[in-house]
Each structure stands twice: as structure tokens, then as C-alpha cells.
């Protein structure tokens, strides 16, 4: 396995330098086995484009998004203020994250608590790298013509109206992008938002991730792409419940890019 080049903010500080961006890994991206693969894929892309980026490492703490949405405003603001103290201490200006929940909270809910940063979702940053010519995608036969459907994460799509960026990236890879009947503004949630990730669902007649997986299966995809570690878990579980895990992969847009470039 290729060695990743990852420096912390503390490393940069010791060298007396500032990174171009701070990569906010997030709790899922740091600890969840599946999400860690997304983190590594994104870092491979950053390394390939020779981006001078930093992570907070052990100084990073949960953004508090999940506590806020569970109703615990105290815990959220405690987390937010601690993080803001660290971020402002390092004079961070730009943050990129692969988690739409962190993205939304950092971008929209931190400013009024004193944390003002230019926040981007990793797909937005990758698109920027492509546009600047810092990242070039070699044409690859790996994904060419593959049937891919994109599941919109609620906190990227409806919540922040980023609909086209991840789709544009997928199209750059030459995949055959098939839309589900509910997409973009009317996309169905995967079922994990609002702290649902951490609890059993209320009594009902179906799980939300299974319903969303059915939407995806209607497009007969080879790959279900998404841009959120929680969505990834939910859709993966959904595919398993339909016993399709051998024929359908659930992958993050960053993973698709990294795979296509043999990174």
C-alpha cells in the first residue's frame, strides 16, 4: 500500500508555514472502517495534486453536528467553541471536508459562534483542482460506460444546494450516469441524518435505507456513488439487505476518482 503524506497543523506550525487547506477528517472519517477508506482515497488525490494540506489529527474533535440535531445545543456549542479556538489559534482560513454534516455545520453554524472559514465539500475542492489544472484525470477504461447512480446526501444537496458538482466529477470519469426517480431537491434521505445514525429507527414498516436502495436498484446500477460517509454506510447496508453486494458497489466520489487513476 502506498504511503500517504499527511501533515498536521502542528507540523506546519513548527515549520512556521501555513497549509493551503485544512482537511477536516471528521469522526466518521477518522474511526469508521468504511469511512477511513474514503479519507485515504481523498488524501491520495490531494497527494497526487501535490496540495499542501494539513489535518488537525488528535486536536480535531467532533463538530457537534450530531449532538445539535439530537437536540443537545449545549454539547454542540461546547464542541463548536473548542474547535473554533483550535482553528482560530492556527489561523485556519480554508477547510475542506468529505463529510456533508461537518461541511454544513462548519459552513453555516460556526460563523455566528466566531468561526469564519471558507468551507468546501471535497467534491467542490476536487473540481477546483481539475479546473486549475493541478489535477489531471487520465482517461481510464475502468469506469468508462459503467452504470452509476448518484445518491444526494441531504446535507450537501437540499441543505446547501450542491447538486451538480459531484455529478460533473462522475461525468468526467466517463461513467453512464443514471438518475433515480427522486434526485437532487427531491432525493430521499438515506435515513442516517438527524442523529438517526446512532439509534434504532422508530417502529414502522420498512427501513429508510432499504427504501432508498430500492430507488437506486431501479436504475440497475453497477455502482451507487455518494458523497457522505453516513449515506455510504446506509446504502451499503441497504444493498446487503437486497443481497446485491456482489454485483453492486457503494463508493464515494473520491474513491471512484482514486480508483480510476490507480492511486
Amino acid at each position: 500500500m502506498s504511503q500517504l503524506i499527511v501533515k498536521t497543523m502542528a507540523d506546519f506550525m513548527a515549520e512556521g508555514k501555513q497549509p493551503e487547506i485544512l482537511f477536516w477528517v471528521g469522526s466518521a472519517g477518522s474511526y469508521d472502517d468504511r469511512a477511513k477508506k474514503i479519507t485515504r482515497a481523498f488524501v491520495k488525490i490531494l497527494n497526487k495534486a501535490q496540495v499542501d494540506f494539513a489535518v488537525l489529527g488528535t486536536e480535531e474533535s467532533c463538530t457537534g453536528d450530531v449532538a445539535k440535531r439530537a437536540g443537545n445545543e449545549f454539547l454542540f456549542q461546547m464542541q463548536a467553541m473548542m474547535n473554533i479556538e483550535v482553528l482560530n489559534g492556527y489561523e485556519v482560513k480554508r477547510i475542506v471536508t468529505a463529510c456533508p454534516h461537518s461541511y454544513n455545520t462548519l459552513k453555516n453554524e460556526y460563523p455566528s459562534l466566531g468561526g469564519n472559514y471558507h468551507v468546501q465539500h471535497h467534491t467542490e475542492y476536487i473540481e477546483e483542482l481539475l479546473q486549475n489544472g493541478r489535477l489531471k484525470l487520465e482517461s481510464s477504461s475502468k469506469l468508462n460506460g459503467k452504470r452509476v447512480t448518484f445518491h444526494d446526501p441531504c446535507y450537501l444537496g437540499r441543505a446547501n444546494e450542491v447538486f451538480e458538482v459531484p455529478r460533473n466529477l462522475l461525468k468526467t470519469l466517463g461513467v453512464d450516469l443514471k438518475e433515480m426517480k427522486r434526485n437532487r431537491r427531491t432525493a430521499l434521505c438515506c435515513g442516517a441524518g438527524g442523529a438517526q445514525m446512532f439509534k434504532e429507527p422508530e417502529k414502522g414498516d420498512k427501513d429508510i435505507n432499504v427504501l432508498r436502495t430500492e430507488d437506486a436498484l431501479e436504475t440497475q446500477p453497477e455502482i451507487i456513488a455518494t458523497g457522505c460517509p453516513y449515506c455510504n454506510t446506509m446504502m451499503t447496508d441497504g444493498v446487503k439487505s437486497k443481497e446485491k453486494e456482489n454485483s453492486i458497489q457503494v463508493l464515494d466520489v473520491a474513491e471512484l476518482i482514486a480508483n480510476s487513476q490507480d492511486l
Binding site: Y31, T58, G64, V66, F74, C154, G194, K199, D205
Partner: protein
């Protein structure tokens, strides 16, 4: 001269408008029971939203069939009401079709009203069929039993009757038919009334005229008791609706102050309040009743016309959970009405009735089923935000009652202890680099 009809007309007008005004006052009083909220920002954007979403019906057409039919009824409502102006002048001054002096333009006006009236009639019939024959799922959810179901149908019957009266009034107006200008639809009714004497026709015409205007006044007063208030409130509601990204939830200021104190090493937590400082009542976190919500949320509740688009898009509802965003809005309004009646009965003071929105109307099970996905907010054609009410109530459950589901308490303990929702060591945050 006999002034009796004029006097009767003026009296009905005063009564009809007066009673409505009285209820509007009550409505405003109830809405003001909510907390204040600053909505003075982004005025140009707010005007644009109102023009586009309420006046322009931009979100209605996301569902093309209902949207198209609704635009007909909406346009009919606004345009045909120009005719009411003439009716009022005629009624007050004993004139007959005072504007007919406009000649062919008058014919053009009445002609378009007649065409619209027919279109409205047909659309309303289709609406009725969708509700009662096709039985669209969203009109048959548990919260749509009883009054809400009848209310929906009554409104449709009202509109059918009013449109019919308008056309009958025109058809039996001998003078108007003789003008033969603008009677595009009403002349088709003529064969059915052939052979009736001029006197009978006149009686029918007068009866239809009176029933039409009285019907409009009754309908106006029906609004306050009905979900149909949206025809008025959609405008302020879209103006005051959200202008920030949907993902952005407000940060509670009361909490910010306390957290800042906790994190400030110079604050003495046991310090007595400064001399002369008013004893501050600790803020209540979140909402357990309608008075804890803000007034825009209460305006939302009165604006809701129970179309159910929110509920039909809600992932929890679609998978059989109890949560229905529409029910959240209906419950909020029902409780607000109850509080309002309580205030009326107790000389302007609210007397504790041992009830509240949380528990007596909305259950914890509903609140915890929400994924905060914003599908309901996106779906609403008049910018209602059921999610913000759900969030306020969750805040109350967690911060005032420590009543979160156990798994969520575990998750929150993990964040407190290790800075992650999972029980992993913060020192392991960078392990992914070498795995």
C-alpha cells in the same frame, strides 16, 4: 323609493367584514404569543420569494397536475373577485351592472370571468374526485380524519356553489343576455331556462345575486375556522420564510452565553449578581408548548392548508413511522387555538390548563423519527418549516428533560468524553494514515 335592499346589503357587508376583522385581530393576537424573531434582514430576497412562491405559485407546479389546476382556481379567485367590486357598488346604490357602461370592455371582462368560472368549477370537481374517489394517499392519512377531511370538502362545495351562482345570475339576467356581450358561458344555460317568464327569471337572478354575495361573505368568515387561510397568509408566510441555507439551524443564544461563561476562566460561577442587576429568569431551552415557539412558526401553523406534500415526501412517514410533518403543523395550530380560547375565556390571561403541545398533541415517538433531511421544508409550496418546530421540541426533551433515547445519550456521552460519537480514543484519530 324602497331602500330596504340597500340597507340590508350594507348591513350584511358590515356584519360580514366586521366579524372577519374581529377574528383577524384574534389571529394576530395568537400569532404574537410566539417569541420575537428577527426577520428584518434580506428584504429584497424576501420580496422576491413572496413574488415567486406565493404570487407566482412556483412551487405548486412541482406537481404538475395539482399545480395546473390550482393555478386556475387561484387565478379565478383573484380575477373573478373584480366582479365583487361591481356587486358591492350595485348593492349599496341600487344600481344594476353599473360598469356595463364600459361597453365591449365590460363584455370582455365578464366573458373572461365566465370562462374562468367554468374552469374553476371543473378544476374543483377534479380536486374533489382526487380527494374522494381516487383517494390520493396523502388525503387519507390518520391526521385527515373528521374535521380536516370535511373542511377540505366544504371548501370545494363552497367554490362549486359560488361559481354556479355566478353563472346562473348571468344566465337569468335578461338585460345582460340581450346585450349579448360577455355571456360566453351563461348563454349556454339559456336553453335550460327557456319558457320561464321574465318575472320568474328576475326572481332567480335576484336570488342568485344575493346568494352569491352572501356566500362570499360567509366564505370569508369561514376562512378563520378553516385550513383555507392560506389564500391570505401564504403571502406573509413566504415573505417571512427561511432565507438561509436549509441546513443551517439557529444557534440558541441563551446557550451561547452559558457556554461562554463555562469556558471563561475569569468567570466566578458563584458570584452574586451585580448590585441593581435584575434577577434574570433562566431561559427555557427548546419548546414544550406553542408560546415557546417563535411567531413565524405560529404563522406557519395558520398558513398550512394541509395539502400533505410534506408528509408524502417525508422518509419517516413513507416507511410507516408515526411522524407526519403536516400533523406537526396541524397540532401546533390546534393547540394555539386552544390557548387563544383559554385567553378569551379568562379575560386576556392564559390560565394553565395542564396541557401542552408536547405530549398532549405531539409525541416523543414522532419527534425522534425525524432525520432532519429537509424534504418537508423543500416540499412545502408556501415556505412552511415543520423541521424547526421538531428541532425546538427535541431541544426541550434533551436539555430540559434529559429524555433522549438511550442510544443517543450514549452517543452524547462519547462526544463529551472522547470528542467523537463513538467510544474511541481521541489519540487514535490519526490512525487511518498508517492502516
Amino acid at each position: 323609493m324602497n331602500y330596504l335592499p340597500n340597507i340590508l346589503f350594507a348591513l350584511s357587508l358590515i356584519l360580514g367584514i366586521g366579524y372577519f376583522a374581529k377574528n383577524v385581530k384574534k389571529l394576530l393576537r395568537n400569532i404574537r404569543l410566539g417569541h420575537d424573531v428577527d426577520v428584518s434582514d434580506q428584504k429584497p430576497q424576501r420580496w422576491r420569494n413572496m413574488m415567486r412562491i406565493a404570487l407566482g405559485q412556483s412551487k405548486m407546479v412541482n406537481r404538475p397536475i395539482a399545480g395546473f389546476l390550482h393555478i386556475i382556481v387561484y387565478a379565478g379567485f383573484i380575477i373573478i373577485n373584480i366582479e365583487v367590486l361591481e356587486i358591492i357598488i350595485d348593492g349599496l346604490f341600487g344600481t344594476h351592472r353599473i360598469m356595463s357602461g364600459l361597453g365591449s370592455f365590460y363584455g370582455f371582462l365578464i366573458g373572461s370571468f365566465e370562462v374562468l368560472a367554468l374552469l374553476v368549477f371543473v378544476s374543483v370537481i377534479i380536486f374533489w374526485i382526487r380527494r374522494n374517489v381516487i383517494k390520493l394517499q396523502r388525503f387519507w392519512k390518520p391526521e385527515m380524519k373528521g374535521w380536516p377531511k370535511n373542511d377540505g370538502n366544504f371548501i370545494l362545495y363552497f367554490e362549486m356553489v359560488l361559481m354556479t351562482l355566478f353563472l346562473v345570475m348571468n344566465a337569468t339576467d335578461v338585460h345582460f343576455q340581450e346585450m349579448n356581450s360577455g355571456n360566453i358561458i351563461s348563454q349556454m344555460i339559456a336553453p335550460w331556462i327557456e319558457g320561464l317568464s321574465v318575472g320568474t327569471l328576475h326572481t332567480i337572478e335576484r336570488a342568485a345575486w344575493w346568494l352569491h354575495i352572501l356566500g362570499i361573505l360567509v366564505f370569508l368568515n369561514y376562512l378563520y375556522f378553516s385550513k383555507h387561510l392560506h389564500i391570505l397568509l401564504a403571502f406573509p408566510n413566504t415573505y417571512y420564510g427561511r432565507v438561509t441555507p436549509k441546513g443551517q439551524f439557529n444557534n440558541l443564544e441563551a446557550v451561547t452565553n452559558e457556554v461562554k461563561m463555562m469556558m471563561d476562566p475569569n468567570v466566578d460561577p458563584f458570584a452574586a449578581p451585580a448590585e441593581g442587576a435584575e434577577a434574570t429568569v433562566p431561559a427555557k431551552f427548546g419548546a414544550s408548548d406553542v408560546m415557546d415557539l417563535n411567531w413565524v412558526q405560529l404563522l406557519n401553523a395558520y398558513t398550512c392548508t394541509e395539502c400533505g406534500r410534506c408528509t408524502s415526501e417525508c422518509p419517516a412517514n413513507q416507511t410507516g413511522k408515526k411522524l407526519s410533518p403536516r400533523k406537526i403543523m396541524m397540532d401546533t395550530r390546534d393547540r394555539l387555538e386552544e390557548v387563544g380560547k383559554n385567553i378569551d375565556a379568562n379575560k386576556g390571561e392564559f390560565k394553565d390548563d395542564g396541557k401542552q403541545l408536547l405530549g398532549d398533541y405531539i409525541t416523543n415517538e414522532e419527534l425522534w423519527a425525524c432525520t432532519t433531511c429537509n424534504a418537508c421544508v423543500e416540499a412545502c409550496p408556501v415556505s412552511i418549516d415543520p423541521l424547526s418546530i421538531i428541532m425546538e421540541m427535541r431541544r426541550y426533551l434533551v436539555m430540559e428533560q434529559s429524555a433522549a433515547p438511550m442510544e443517543l445519550n450514549n452517543m452524547m456521552t462519547n462526544i463529551e468524553n472522547n470528542g467523537a460519537p463513538w467510544p474511541y480514543n481521541q489519540m487514535d484519530r490519526l490512525n487511518w494514515v498508517n492502516e
